[in-house]
Symmetry: C2
Subunit: 328 residues, 2 copies
Protein backbone atom coordinates (compact mmCIF):
# COMPACT_ATOMS: atom_id res chain seq x y z
CA UNK A 1 0.00 0.00 0.00
CA UNK A 2 1.28 3.47 -0.87
CA UNK A 3 1.47 5.84 2.06
CA UNK A 4 -0.41 8.37 -0.06
CA UNK A 5 -3.49 6.12 0.21
CA UNK A 6 -3.40 6.34 4.00
CA UNK A 7 -5.52 9.03 5.57
CA UNK A 8 -2.84 9.90 8.11
CA UNK A 9 -0.50 11.11 5.36
CA UNK A 10 -3.00 13.52 3.79
CA UNK A 11 -0.73 16.51 4.48
CA UNK A 12 1.65 15.20 1.80
CA UNK A 13 -0.91 13.37 -0.35
CA UNK A 14 -0.62 15.78 -3.29
CA UNK A 15 3.19 15.81 -3.01
CA UNK A 16 3.24 12.02 -3.25
CA UNK A 17 1.00 12.09 -6.31
CA UNK A 18 3.40 14.48 -8.05
CA UNK A 19 6.29 12.25 -6.94
CA UNK A 20 4.90 9.28 -8.90
CA UNK A 21 4.85 11.29 -12.15
CA UNK A 22 8.28 12.75 -11.50
CA UNK A 23 9.72 9.30 -10.79
CA UNK A 24 8.48 8.05 -14.15
CA UNK A 25 9.86 11.11 -15.91
CA UNK A 26 13.25 10.80 -14.23
CA UNK A 27 13.54 7.13 -15.21
CA UNK A 28 13.25 8.00 -18.88
CA UNK A 29 16.29 7.48 -21.06
CA UNK A 30 17.19 7.69 -24.73
CA UNK A 31 17.40 3.89 -24.66
CA UNK A 32 13.85 2.43 -24.65
CA UNK A 33 14.91 -0.60 -22.62
CA UNK A 34 16.12 1.57 -19.74
CA UNK A 35 12.88 3.56 -19.77
CA UNK A 36 10.97 0.28 -19.69
CA UNK A 37 12.97 -1.02 -16.73
CA UNK A 38 12.53 2.28 -14.89
CA UNK A 39 8.77 2.33 -15.48
CA UNK A 40 8.50 -1.27 -14.29
CA UNK A 41 10.38 -0.44 -11.11
CA UNK A 42 8.33 2.68 -10.42
CA UNK A 43 5.04 0.90 -11.10
CA UNK A 44 5.84 -2.12 -8.98
CA UNK A 45 5.55 0.25 -6.11
CA UNK A 46 6.88 0.34 -2.65
CA UNK A 47 5.52 2.38 0.19
CA UNK A 48 7.53 5.54 -0.67
CA UNK A 49 8.36 5.83 3.02
CA UNK A 50 11.69 7.57 2.39
CA UNK A 51 10.48 10.38 0.13
CA UNK A 52 7.38 10.71 2.33
CA UNK A 53 9.54 11.37 5.38
CA UNK A 54 11.65 13.78 3.36
CA UNK A 55 8.58 15.67 2.09
CA UNK A 56 7.07 15.81 5.53
CA UNK A 57 10.32 17.27 6.88
CA UNK A 58 10.42 19.69 3.95
CA UNK A 59 7.06 20.99 5.24
CA UNK A 60 8.25 21.17 8.83
CA UNK A 61 9.01 24.89 8.72
CA UNK A 62 5.45 25.85 7.86
CA UNK A 63 3.52 25.85 4.60
CA UNK A 64 4.86 29.28 3.66
CA UNK A 65 8.40 27.94 3.62
CA UNK A 66 7.61 24.81 1.61
CA UNK A 67 8.81 25.02 -1.98
CA UNK A 68 7.65 21.95 -3.88
CA UNK A 69 9.74 22.79 -6.95
CA UNK A 70 12.83 22.81 -4.80
CA UNK A 71 11.90 19.77 -2.73
CA UNK A 72 10.65 17.41 -5.44
CA UNK A 73 13.94 16.63 -7.25
CA UNK A 74 15.40 15.52 -3.92
CA UNK A 75 12.35 13.38 -3.13
CA UNK A 76 12.78 11.73 -6.54
CA UNK A 77 16.52 11.28 -5.99
CA UNK A 78 15.93 9.66 -2.61
CA UNK A 79 13.45 7.14 -3.97
CA UNK A 80 15.68 6.42 -6.98
CA UNK A 81 18.61 5.65 -4.70
CA UNK A 82 16.35 3.31 -2.75
CA UNK A 83 15.13 1.66 -5.97
CA UNK A 84 18.70 1.28 -7.24
CA UNK A 85 19.79 -0.42 -4.05
CA UNK A 86 16.80 -2.80 -4.18
CA UNK A 87 17.56 -3.68 -7.82
CA UNK A 88 21.14 -4.53 -6.89
CA UNK A 89 19.97 -6.46 -3.80
CA UNK A 90 17.68 -8.55 -5.97
CA UNK A 91 20.56 -9.40 -8.30
CA UNK A 92 22.67 -10.36 -5.30
CA UNK A 93 19.92 -12.45 -3.70
CA UNK A 94 18.83 -13.91 -7.06
CA UNK A 95 15.31 -12.83 -6.09
CA UNK A 96 12.58 -13.66 -8.60
CA UNK A 97 9.82 -11.45 -7.27
CA UNK A 98 9.46 -8.38 -5.09
CA UNK A 99 6.10 -7.12 -3.90
CA UNK A 100 4.43 -9.65 -6.16
CA UNK A 101 6.06 -8.30 -9.34
CA UNK A 102 8.96 -9.83 -11.27
CA UNK A 103 12.33 -8.40 -10.29
CA UNK A 104 14.42 -6.63 -12.94
CA UNK A 105 16.94 -9.47 -12.90
CA UNK A 106 14.22 -12.07 -13.41
CA UNK A 107 12.65 -10.08 -16.24
CA UNK A 108 15.72 -8.77 -18.06
CA UNK A 109 18.74 -10.61 -16.64
CA UNK A 110 21.57 -9.52 -14.36
CA UNK A 111 23.32 -7.32 -16.91
CA UNK A 112 20.35 -5.03 -17.46
CA UNK A 113 19.48 -5.06 -13.76
CA UNK A 114 22.97 -4.08 -12.59
CA UNK A 115 23.30 -1.37 -15.23
CA UNK A 116 19.80 -0.03 -14.55
CA UNK A 117 20.69 0.29 -10.89
CA UNK A 118 23.82 2.22 -11.86
CA UNK A 119 21.72 4.40 -14.15
CA UNK A 120 19.29 5.16 -11.31
CA UNK A 121 22.17 6.13 -9.00
CA UNK A 122 23.56 8.45 -11.66
CA UNK A 123 20.16 10.01 -12.37
CA UNK A 124 19.63 10.52 -8.65
CA UNK A 125 22.88 12.43 -8.36
CA UNK A 126 22.25 14.47 -11.47
CA UNK A 127 18.90 15.57 -9.98
CA UNK A 128 20.72 17.07 -7.03
CA UNK A 129 23.32 19.18 -8.81
CA UNK A 130 22.85 22.46 -10.59
CA UNK A 131 19.82 23.43 -8.51
CA UNK A 132 21.47 25.57 -5.89
CA UNK A 133 21.07 23.18 -2.96
CA UNK A 134 23.31 23.59 0.01
CA UNK A 135 26.46 21.49 -0.53
CA UNK A 136 25.61 19.55 2.62
CA UNK A 137 22.65 18.06 0.77
CA UNK A 138 24.84 16.42 -1.87
CA UNK A 139 27.28 15.21 0.75
CA UNK A 140 24.48 13.58 2.70
CA UNK A 141 23.13 11.82 -0.38
CA UNK A 142 26.56 10.40 -1.16
CA UNK A 143 26.92 9.37 2.51
CA UNK A 144 23.57 7.68 2.27
CA UNK A 145 24.65 5.49 -0.67
CA UNK A 146 28.01 4.57 0.81
CA UNK A 147 26.34 3.81 4.15
CA UNK A 148 23.84 1.52 2.44
CA UNK A 149 26.56 -0.50 0.75
CA UNK A 150 28.59 -0.67 3.96
CA UNK A 151 25.51 -1.99 5.79
CA UNK A 152 24.91 -4.64 3.15
CA UNK A 153 28.51 -5.77 3.18
CA UNK A 154 28.49 -5.95 6.98
CA UNK A 155 25.44 -8.17 6.67
CA UNK A 156 27.25 -10.34 4.15
CA UNK A 157 30.21 -10.85 6.45
CA UNK A 158 27.95 -12.14 9.22
CA UNK A 159 25.75 -14.47 7.15
CA UNK A 160 24.95 -17.88 8.67
CA UNK A 161 26.78 -16.95 11.83
CA UNK A 162 25.46 -17.68 15.28
CA UNK A 163 28.15 -15.42 16.71
CA UNK A 164 26.28 -12.24 15.82
CA UNK A 165 26.18 -9.98 18.80
CA UNK A 166 23.55 -7.37 19.57
CA UNK A 167 25.98 -4.46 19.03
CA UNK A 168 26.82 -5.85 15.59
CA UNK A 169 23.14 -6.16 14.77
CA UNK A 170 22.41 -2.60 15.86
CA UNK A 171 25.34 -1.26 13.85
CA UNK A 172 24.28 -3.18 10.77
CA UNK A 173 20.64 -2.05 10.74
CA UNK A 174 21.78 1.47 11.49
CA UNK A 175 23.90 1.49 8.35
CA UNK A 176 21.35 -0.37 6.26
CA UNK A 177 18.16 1.46 7.24
CA UNK A 178 18.26 3.94 10.11
CA UNK A 179 20.82 6.32 8.63
CA UNK A 180 18.86 6.43 5.36
CA UNK A 181 15.63 7.45 7.09
CA UNK A 182 17.56 9.85 9.32
CA UNK A 183 19.15 11.58 6.33
CA UNK A 184 15.77 11.85 4.55
CA UNK A 185 14.40 13.71 7.54
CA UNK A 186 17.49 15.86 7.99
CA UNK A 187 17.75 16.85 4.33
CA UNK A 188 14.03 17.71 4.36
CA UNK A 189 14.60 19.93 7.36
CA UNK A 190 17.56 21.61 5.65
CA UNK A 191 15.52 22.30 2.51
CA UNK A 192 12.65 23.69 4.56
CA UNK A 193 14.99 26.27 6.02
CA UNK A 194 14.92 24.96 9.58
CA UNK A 195 18.03 25.78 11.62
CA UNK A 196 20.78 23.17 11.99
CA UNK A 197 19.63 22.20 15.49
CA UNK A 198 16.10 21.43 14.35
CA UNK A 199 17.42 19.56 11.30
CA UNK A 200 19.53 17.44 13.67
CA UNK A 201 16.40 16.79 15.74
CA UNK A 202 14.70 15.51 12.61
CA UNK A 203 17.77 13.36 11.93
CA UNK A 204 17.37 11.78 15.38
CA UNK A 205 13.67 11.22 14.78
CA UNK A 206 14.41 9.51 11.46
CA UNK A 207 17.20 7.45 12.97
CA UNK A 208 14.97 6.13 15.74
CA UNK A 209 12.03 5.29 13.49
CA UNK A 210 14.53 3.71 11.09
CA UNK A 211 15.82 1.40 13.81
CA UNK A 212 12.22 0.57 14.77
CA UNK A 213 11.26 0.11 11.12
CA UNK A 214 14.04 -2.40 10.45
CA UNK A 215 13.35 -4.29 13.67
CA UNK A 216 9.66 -4.49 12.73
CA UNK A 217 10.74 -5.83 9.35
CA UNK A 218 12.88 -8.41 11.07
CA UNK A 219 10.01 -9.32 13.40
CA UNK A 220 7.60 -9.68 10.48
CA UNK A 221 9.99 -12.18 8.94
CA UNK A 222 9.41 -14.32 12.04
CA UNK A 223 5.75 -13.68 12.81
CA UNK A 224 4.33 -12.23 9.59
CA UNK A 225 1.71 -13.56 7.25
CA UNK A 226 3.22 -14.72 3.95
CA UNK A 227 0.29 -13.39 1.91
CA UNK A 228 0.40 -9.91 3.44
CA UNK A 229 4.20 -9.79 3.24
CA UNK A 230 4.26 -10.93 -0.37
CA UNK A 231 7.11 -13.29 0.53
CA UNK A 232 7.43 -16.42 2.67
CA UNK A 233 8.14 -16.04 6.38
CA UNK A 234 11.62 -17.01 7.48
CA UNK A 235 13.22 -15.52 4.38
CA UNK A 236 15.97 -13.90 6.43
CA UNK A 237 16.82 -17.11 8.27
CA UNK A 238 16.94 -19.00 4.97
CA UNK A 239 19.34 -16.44 3.54
CA UNK A 240 21.52 -16.54 6.61
CA UNK A 241 20.58 -13.09 7.92
CA UNK A 242 20.53 -13.43 11.69
CA UNK A 243 18.24 -10.78 13.19
CA UNK A 244 17.53 -9.65 16.74
CA UNK A 245 14.71 -12.09 17.62
CA UNK A 246 16.99 -14.92 16.53
CA UNK A 247 20.03 -13.51 18.32
CA UNK A 248 17.93 -13.38 21.48
CA UNK A 249 16.52 -16.88 21.04
CA UNK A 250 20.05 -18.20 20.48
CA UNK A 251 20.74 -17.02 24.01
CA UNK A 252 17.52 -17.62 25.89
CA UNK A 253 15.74 -20.56 24.26
CA UNK A 254 15.95 -24.07 25.72
CA UNK A 255 16.29 -25.25 22.12
CA UNK A 256 19.14 -22.85 21.38
CA UNK A 257 21.56 -25.58 20.29
CA UNK A 258 19.08 -26.89 17.76
CA UNK A 259 18.40 -23.33 16.54
CA UNK A 260 22.13 -22.71 16.23
CA UNK A 261 22.64 -25.78 14.09
CA UNK A 262 19.84 -24.66 11.73
CA UNK A 263 20.68 -20.96 11.27
CA UNK A 264 24.34 -21.74 10.58
CA UNK A 265 23.39 -24.28 7.91
CA UNK A 266 23.81 -22.80 4.43
CA UNK A 267 21.63 -25.50 2.90
CA UNK A 268 18.73 -25.74 5.35
CA UNK A 269 15.59 -27.59 4.28
CA UNK A 270 12.01 -26.25 4.53
CA UNK A 271 11.44 -28.45 7.57
CA UNK A 272 14.51 -27.10 9.30
CA UNK A 273 13.37 -23.55 8.55
CA UNK A 274 9.89 -24.25 9.98
CA UNK A 275 11.46 -25.67 13.11
CA UNK A 276 13.72 -22.61 13.49
CA UNK A 277 10.71 -20.30 13.18
CA UNK A 278 8.89 -22.37 15.77
CA UNK A 279 11.79 -22.09 18.21
CA UNK A 280 12.12 -18.32 17.77
CA UNK A 281 8.35 -17.76 18.01
CA UNK A 282 8.10 -19.69 21.26
CA UNK A 283 11.13 -17.95 22.73
CA UNK A 284 11.16 -14.46 24.26
CA UNK A 285 12.95 -13.16 21.13
CA UNK A 286 9.83 -11.56 19.68
CA UNK A 287 8.84 -9.82 22.89
CA UNK A 288 12.45 -8.76 23.49
CA UNK A 289 12.63 -7.16 20.04
CA UNK A 290 9.20 -5.53 20.33
CA UNK A 291 10.37 -3.81 23.49
CA UNK A 292 13.24 -2.21 21.55
CA UNK A 293 10.81 -1.15 18.83
CA UNK A 294 8.60 0.59 21.38
CA UNK A 295 11.55 2.30 23.01
CA UNK A 296 12.85 3.59 19.68
CA UNK A 297 9.42 4.91 18.74
CA UNK A 298 9.12 6.74 22.04
CA UNK A 299 12.59 8.14 21.50
CA UNK A 300 11.60 9.22 17.99
CA UNK A 301 8.63 11.20 19.24
CA UNK A 302 10.74 12.89 21.90
CA UNK A 303 13.37 13.84 19.30
CA UNK A 304 10.91 15.92 17.27
CA UNK A 305 12.00 19.56 17.52
CA UNK A 306 9.51 21.59 19.51
CA UNK A 307 9.04 24.21 16.83
CA UNK A 308 7.54 21.66 14.44
CA UNK A 309 3.79 22.01 14.93
CA UNK A 310 0.33 21.38 13.55
CA UNK A 311 -0.47 18.74 10.96
CA UNK A 312 3.16 18.02 10.20
CA UNK A 313 3.98 17.24 13.83
CA UNK A 314 0.84 15.12 14.13
CA UNK A 315 1.82 13.19 11.00
CA UNK A 316 5.34 12.54 12.26
CA UNK A 317 3.82 11.10 15.43
CA UNK A 318 1.30 9.01 13.54
CA UNK A 319 4.08 7.75 11.27
CA UNK A 320 5.93 6.47 14.32
CA UNK A 321 2.77 4.75 15.57
CA UNK A 322 2.19 3.24 12.13
CA UNK A 323 5.67 1.75 12.09
CA UNK A 324 4.98 0.09 15.44
CA UNK A 325 1.76 -1.47 14.21
CA UNK A 326 2.38 -2.36 10.61
CA UNK A 327 1.83 -5.95 9.60
CA UNK A 328 3.10 -5.83 5.99
Amino acid sequence: MLLSDMKMFRVIKSDLAVLEDELLAASESPVPLITEVGAHLVRSGGKRLRPALFLLAARANGAANFDRGKAMPLAVAIEMIHMASLVHDDVIDRAGTRRGALTANAKWGNRVAILSGDYLFAQAFSLTVGRGYDEGVGLRLAELVSGLTVGEIMQDVSLYSAENTMPEYFQRIEKKTANFLALCCEIGGMVSGLDAGAAKGLYSYGHSIGMAFQMTDDLLDITGDAVKLGKPAGNDIRQGVVTLPVIRALKSSDSRDELRSIVTNGSMTDDMLSRALEIVRSSDGVQFTRKFVDEYLEKAKKSLPENIAGDVRATFIKAADYIGKRDF
Copy 2:
Protein backbone atom coordinates in the same frame (compact mmCIF):
# COMPACT_ATOMS: atom_id res chain seq x y z
CA MET B 1 51.81 -0.13 -17.98
CA LEU B 2 50.92 3.01 -16.08
CA LEU B 3 51.06 6.17 -18.16
CA SER B 4 53.17 7.69 -15.38
CA ASP B 5 55.97 5.31 -16.38
CA MET B 6 55.98 6.68 -19.91
CA LYS B 7 58.40 9.46 -20.63
CA MET B 8 55.90 11.35 -22.75
CA PHE B 9 53.65 11.92 -19.73
CA ARG B 10 56.38 13.47 -17.56
CA VAL B 11 54.46 16.75 -17.26
CA ILE B 12 51.90 14.96 -15.06
CA LYS B 13 54.22 12.31 -13.61
CA SER B 14 54.15 13.72 -10.09
CA ASP B 15 50.36 14.25 -10.27
CA LEU B 16 49.89 10.60 -11.20
CA ALA B 17 52.07 9.49 -8.30
CA VAL B 18 49.92 11.49 -5.87
CA LEU B 19 46.82 10.05 -7.56
CA GLU B 20 47.85 6.49 -6.60
CA ASP B 21 48.06 7.39 -2.91
CA GLU B 22 44.83 9.34 -3.02
CA LEU B 23 43.02 6.47 -4.71
CA LEU B 24 44.06 4.13 -1.91
CA ALA B 25 42.99 6.64 0.72
CA ALA B 26 39.62 7.24 -0.92
CA SER B 27 38.91 3.50 -1.08
CA GLU B 28 39.23 3.17 2.67
CA SER B 29 36.12 2.36 4.63
CA PRO B 30 35.18 1.55 8.23
CA VAL B 31 34.56 -2.01 6.97
CA PRO B 32 37.92 -3.78 6.48
CA LEU B 33 36.56 -5.92 3.63
CA ILE B 34 35.64 -2.85 1.57
CA THR B 35 39.07 -1.35 2.16
CA GLU B 36 40.63 -4.65 1.06
CA VAL B 37 38.55 -4.76 -2.13
CA GLY B 38 39.37 -1.13 -2.88
CA ALA B 39 43.10 -1.67 -2.38
CA HIS B 40 43.00 -4.74 -4.61
CA LEU B 41 41.27 -2.78 -7.36
CA VAL B 42 43.67 0.15 -7.09
CA ARG B 43 46.73 -2.11 -7.04
CA SER B 44 45.64 -4.22 -9.98
CA GLY B 45 46.24 -1.14 -11.97
CA GLY B 46 45.01 0.13 -15.23
CA LYS B 47 46.64 2.77 -17.35
CA ARG B 48 44.96 5.71 -15.53
CA LEU B 49 44.22 7.21 -18.94
CA ARG B 50 41.09 9.04 -17.77
CA PRO B 51 42.55 10.87 -14.79
CA ALA B 52 45.73 11.49 -16.84
CA LEU B 53 43.70 13.30 -19.50
CA PHE B 54 41.84 15.21 -16.81
CA LEU B 55 45.07 16.25 -15.07
CA LEU B 56 46.66 17.26 -18.34
CA ALA B 57 43.61 19.42 -19.12
CA ALA B 58 43.72 20.83 -15.59
CA ARG B 59 47.23 22.07 -16.49
CA ALA B 60 46.13 23.48 -19.83
CA ASN B 61 45.77 27.05 -18.59
CA GLY B 62 49.40 27.28 -17.53
CA ALA B 63 51.26 26.09 -14.46
CA ALA B 64 50.29 29.21 -12.51
CA ASN B 65 46.62 28.33 -12.80
CA PHE B 66 47.05 24.68 -11.85
CA ASP B 67 45.81 23.92 -8.35
CA ARG B 68 46.59 20.32 -7.50
CA GLY B 69 44.56 20.40 -4.29
CA LYS B 70 41.51 21.40 -6.28
CA ALA B 71 42.14 19.04 -9.19
CA MET B 72 43.08 15.86 -7.35
CA PRO B 73 39.70 14.94 -5.80
CA LEU B 74 38.19 15.06 -9.28
CA ALA B 75 41.00 12.94 -10.73
CA VAL B 76 40.33 10.39 -7.98
CA ALA B 77 36.56 10.53 -8.57
CA ILE B 78 37.04 9.97 -12.30
CA GLU B 79 39.20 6.89 -11.80
CA MET B 80 36.85 5.54 -9.10
CA ILE B 81 33.89 5.83 -11.47
CA HIS B 82 35.91 3.96 -14.08
CA MET B 83 36.89 1.30 -11.53
CA ALA B 84 33.28 0.93 -10.37
CA SER B 85 32.07 0.41 -13.91
CA LEU B 86 34.76 -2.21 -14.55
CA VAL B 87 33.85 -4.06 -11.35
CA HIS B 88 30.22 -4.20 -12.43
CA ASP B 89 31.21 -5.21 -15.97
CA ASP B 90 33.21 -8.10 -14.59
CA VAL B 91 30.22 -9.31 -12.57
CA ILE B 92 28.05 -9.06 -15.68
CA ASP B 93 30.58 -10.85 -17.88
CA ARG B 94 31.45 -13.37 -15.14
CA ALA B 95 35.09 -12.46 -15.80
CA GLY B 96 37.66 -14.30 -13.72
CA THR B 97 40.67 -12.10 -14.36
CA ARG B 98 41.41 -8.58 -15.51
CA ARG B 99 44.90 -7.39 -16.34
CA GLY B 100 46.25 -10.66 -14.97
CA ALA B 101 44.74 -10.17 -11.50
CA LEU B 102 41.67 -11.88 -10.07
CA THR B 103 38.48 -9.86 -10.51
CA ALA B 104 36.54 -8.75 -7.42
CA ASN B 105 33.72 -11.14 -8.27
CA ALA B 106 36.14 -14.07 -8.62
CA LYS B 107 37.86 -13.21 -5.35
CA TRP B 108 34.92 -12.17 -3.16
CA GLY B 109 31.74 -13.15 -5.02
CA ASN B 110 29.09 -11.12 -6.79
CA ARG B 111 27.55 -9.62 -3.69
CA VAL B 112 30.73 -7.96 -2.51
CA ALA B 113 31.67 -6.95 -6.07
CA ILE B 114 28.33 -5.28 -6.83
CA LEU B 115 28.26 -3.47 -3.50
CA SER B 116 31.90 -2.41 -3.78
CA GLY B 117 31.10 -0.88 -7.17
CA ASP B 118 28.21 1.01 -5.60
CA TYR B 119 30.49 2.13 -2.80
CA LEU B 120 33.05 3.44 -5.32
CA PHE B 121 30.32 5.38 -7.17
CA ALA B 122 29.15 6.92 -3.91
CA GLN B 123 32.69 7.80 -2.82
CA ALA B 124 33.34 9.36 -6.21
CA PHE B 125 30.33 11.62 -5.86
CA SER B 126 31.12 12.52 -2.29
CA LEU B 127 34.59 13.64 -3.42
CA THR B 128 33.01 16.18 -5.74
CA VAL B 129 30.62 17.92 -3.36
CA GLY B 130 31.40 20.44 -0.68
CA ARG B 131 34.55 21.64 -2.43
CA GLY B 132 33.20 24.63 -4.25
CA TYR B 133 33.40 23.24 -7.77
CA ASP B 134 31.25 24.77 -10.43
CA GLU B 135 27.90 22.95 -10.49
CA GLY B 136 28.57 21.98 -14.11
CA VAL B 137 31.34 19.69 -12.86
CA GLY B 138 28.92 17.59 -10.79
CA LEU B 139 26.41 17.50 -13.63
CA ARG B 140 29.05 16.23 -16.02
CA LEU B 141 30.16 13.49 -13.64
CA ALA B 142 26.56 12.28 -13.28
CA GLU B 143 26.16 12.47 -17.07
CA LEU B 144 29.31 10.42 -17.41
CA VAL B 145 27.93 7.57 -15.26
CA SER B 146 24.51 7.52 -16.89
CA GLY B 147 26.14 7.62 -20.34
CA LEU B 148 28.35 4.66 -19.45
CA THR B 149 25.41 2.54 -18.40
CA VAL B 150 23.42 3.56 -21.47
CA GLY B 151 26.36 2.53 -23.67
CA GLU B 152 26.63 -0.84 -21.96
CA ILE B 153 22.91 -1.51 -22.28
CA MET B 154 22.99 -0.52 -25.95
CA GLN B 155 25.77 -3.04 -26.37
CA ASP B 156 23.70 -5.68 -24.62
CA VAL B 157 20.72 -5.11 -26.89
CA SER B 158 22.87 -5.74 -29.97
CA LEU B 159 24.76 -8.83 -28.76
CA TYR B 160 25.20 -11.69 -31.26
CA SER B 161 23.54 -9.64 -33.95
CA ALA B 162 24.83 -9.43 -37.50
CA GLU B 163 22.43 -6.54 -38.12
CA ASN B 164 24.63 -4.03 -36.31
CA THR B 165 25.04 -0.99 -38.48
CA MET B 166 27.94 1.42 -38.47
CA PRO B 167 25.82 4.28 -37.02
CA GLU B 168 24.79 2.01 -34.14
CA TYR B 169 28.41 1.07 -33.53
CA PHE B 170 29.53 4.69 -33.50
CA GLN B 171 26.72 5.67 -31.12
CA ARG B 172 27.53 2.79 -28.80
CA ILE B 173 31.28 3.46 -28.49
CA GLU B 174 30.55 7.15 -28.11
CA LYS B 175 28.38 6.44 -25.07
CA LYS B 176 30.69 3.76 -23.71
CA THR B 177 34.06 5.43 -24.14
CA ALA B 178 34.29 8.66 -26.12
CA ASN B 179 31.98 10.74 -23.93
CA PHE B 180 33.88 9.65 -20.84
CA LEU B 181 37.24 10.76 -22.21
CA ALA B 182 35.62 13.93 -23.58
CA LEU B 183 34.19 14.85 -20.18
CA CYS B 184 37.54 14.17 -18.45
CA CYS B 185 39.17 16.70 -20.77
CA GLU B 186 36.35 19.22 -20.48
CA ILE B 187 36.13 19.08 -16.69
CA GLY B 188 39.91 19.48 -16.52
CA GLY B 189 39.64 22.55 -18.70
CA MET B 190 36.87 23.95 -16.51
CA VAL B 191 38.91 23.44 -13.34
CA SER B 192 41.95 25.05 -14.92
CA GLY B 193 39.91 28.20 -15.48
CA LEU B 194 39.92 28.04 -19.28
CA ASP B 195 36.96 29.78 -20.92
CA ALA B 196 33.95 27.70 -22.01
CA GLY B 197 35.05 27.71 -25.66
CA ALA B 198 38.46 26.26 -24.88
CA ALA B 199 36.88 23.72 -22.51
CA LYS B 200 34.59 22.66 -25.36
CA GLY B 201 37.65 22.32 -27.61
CA LEU B 202 39.15 19.98 -25.04
CA TYR B 203 35.86 18.08 -24.99
CA SER B 204 36.14 17.58 -28.76
CA TYR B 205 39.74 16.46 -28.43
CA GLY B 206 38.75 13.92 -25.76
CA HIS B 207 35.80 12.74 -27.78
CA SER B 208 37.92 12.07 -30.86
CA ILE B 209 40.68 10.27 -29.03
CA GLY B 210 37.97 8.34 -27.18
CA MET B 211 36.51 7.12 -30.46
CA ALA B 212 40.01 6.21 -31.68
CA PHE B 213 40.85 4.56 -28.35
CA GLN B 214 37.80 2.30 -28.41
CA MET B 215 38.33 1.41 -32.07
CA THR B 216 41.95 0.52 -31.29
CA ASP B 217 40.67 -1.65 -28.48
CA ASP B 218 38.28 -3.34 -30.86
CA LEU B 219 41.09 -3.80 -33.40
CA LEU B 220 43.38 -5.31 -30.78
CA ASP B 221 40.72 -7.86 -30.01
CA ILE B 222 41.10 -9.01 -33.62
CA THR B 223 44.82 -8.58 -34.23
CA GLY B 224 46.33 -8.37 -30.76
CA ASP B 225 48.76 -10.59 -28.95
CA ALA B 226 47.07 -12.52 -26.14
CA VAL B 227 50.09 -12.21 -23.85
CA LYS B 228 50.39 -8.44 -24.26
CA LEU B 229 46.63 -7.97 -23.96
CA GLY B 230 46.37 -10.14 -20.86
CA LYS B 231 43.30 -11.78 -22.39
CA PRO B 232 42.68 -14.07 -25.37
CA ALA B 233 42.09 -12.49 -28.78
CA GLY B 234 38.54 -12.68 -30.07
CA ASN B 235 37.06 -12.05 -26.63
CA ASP B 236 34.52 -9.58 -28.05
CA ILE B 237 33.34 -11.98 -30.76
CA ARG B 238 32.99 -14.74 -28.23
CA GLN B 239 30.85 -12.50 -26.02
CA GLY B 240 28.72 -11.41 -28.96
CA VAL B 241 30.06 -7.86 -29.15
CA VAL B 242 30.16 -7.05 -32.85
CA THR B 243 32.75 -4.34 -33.52
CA LEU B 244 33.64 -2.26 -36.56
CA PRO B 245 36.19 -4.62 -38.18
CA VAL B 246 33.58 -7.39 -37.98
CA ILE B 247 30.75 -5.16 -39.20
CA ARG B 248 32.90 -4.30 -42.20
CA ALA B 249 33.90 -7.90 -42.86
CA LEU B 250 30.24 -8.93 -42.68
CA LYS B 251 29.75 -6.66 -45.66
CA SER B 252 32.93 -7.01 -47.69
CA SER B 253 34.35 -10.49 -47.09
CA ASP B 254 33.79 -13.33 -49.53
CA SER B 255 33.25 -15.51 -46.46
CA ARG B 256 30.66 -13.14 -44.97
CA ASP B 257 27.94 -15.79 -44.74
CA GLU B 258 30.21 -18.08 -42.76
CA LEU B 259 31.26 -15.16 -40.52
CA ARG B 260 27.61 -14.24 -39.98
CA SER B 261 26.74 -17.75 -38.85
CA ILE B 262 29.59 -17.72 -36.32
CA VAL B 263 29.16 -14.27 -34.75
CA THR B 264 25.42 -14.81 -34.25
CA ASN B 265 26.04 -18.13 -32.50
CA GLY B 266 25.72 -17.75 -28.74
CA SER B 267 27.57 -21.02 -28.13
CA MET B 268 30.47 -20.81 -30.58
CA THR B 269 33.36 -23.23 -30.19
CA ASP B 270 37.06 -22.31 -30.09
CA ASP B 271 37.44 -23.52 -33.65
CA MET B 272 34.58 -21.38 -34.85
CA LEU B 273 36.08 -18.37 -33.07
CA SER B 274 39.49 -18.98 -34.70
CA ARG B 275 37.83 -19.18 -38.08
CA ALA B 276 35.91 -15.93 -37.47
CA LEU B 277 39.16 -14.18 -36.52
CA GLU B 278 40.81 -15.55 -39.66
CA ILE B 279 37.99 -14.21 -41.84
CA VAL B 280 38.05 -10.75 -40.27
CA ARG B 281 41.87 -10.57 -40.38
CA SER B 282 41.96 -11.42 -44.05
CA SER B 283 39.15 -9.00 -44.90
CA ASP B 284 39.56 -5.23 -45.30
CA GLY B 285 37.85 -4.76 -41.88
CA VAL B 286 41.11 -4.04 -40.07
CA GLN B 287 42.35 -1.54 -42.63
CA PHE B 288 38.90 0.05 -42.80
CA THR B 289 38.83 0.56 -39.02
CA ARG B 290 42.42 1.79 -38.88
CA LYS B 291 41.50 4.51 -41.35
CA PHE B 292 38.80 5.77 -38.98
CA VAL B 293 41.30 5.66 -36.10
CA ASP B 294 43.73 7.82 -38.05
CA GLU B 295 41.00 10.27 -39.00
CA TYR B 296 39.80 10.64 -35.43
CA LEU B 297 43.34 11.20 -34.18
CA GLU B 298 43.89 13.91 -36.80
CA LYS B 299 40.59 15.48 -35.79
CA ALA B 300 41.62 15.31 -32.12
CA LYS B 301 44.82 17.23 -32.77
CA LYS B 302 42.96 19.88 -34.75
CA SER B 303 40.41 20.28 -31.94
CA LEU B 304 43.03 21.35 -29.42
CA PRO B 305 42.36 24.99 -28.52
CA GLU B 306 45.12 27.25 -29.85
CA ASN B 307 45.82 28.88 -26.51
CA ILE B 308 47.00 25.57 -25.03
CA ALA B 309 50.74 25.64 -25.45
CA GLY B 310 54.08 24.22 -24.40
CA ASP B 311 54.57 20.85 -22.75
CA VAL B 312 50.86 20.34 -22.17
CA ARG B 313 50.03 20.79 -25.85
CA ALA B 314 52.92 18.53 -26.84
CA THR B 315 51.68 15.86 -24.43
CA PHE B 316 48.13 16.02 -25.77
CA ILE B 317 49.53 15.45 -29.25
CA LYS B 318 51.77 12.61 -28.12
CA ALA B 319 48.83 11.05 -26.29
CA ALA B 320 46.91 10.96 -29.56
CA ASP B 321 49.87 9.36 -31.32
CA TYR B 322 50.24 6.83 -28.52
CA ILE B 323 46.61 5.78 -28.88
CA GLY B 324 47.14 5.16 -32.56
CA LYS B 325 50.16 2.96 -31.94
CA ARG B 326 49.40 1.09 -28.75
CA ASP B 327 49.51 -2.67 -28.91
CA PHE B 328 48.22 -3.52 -25.42
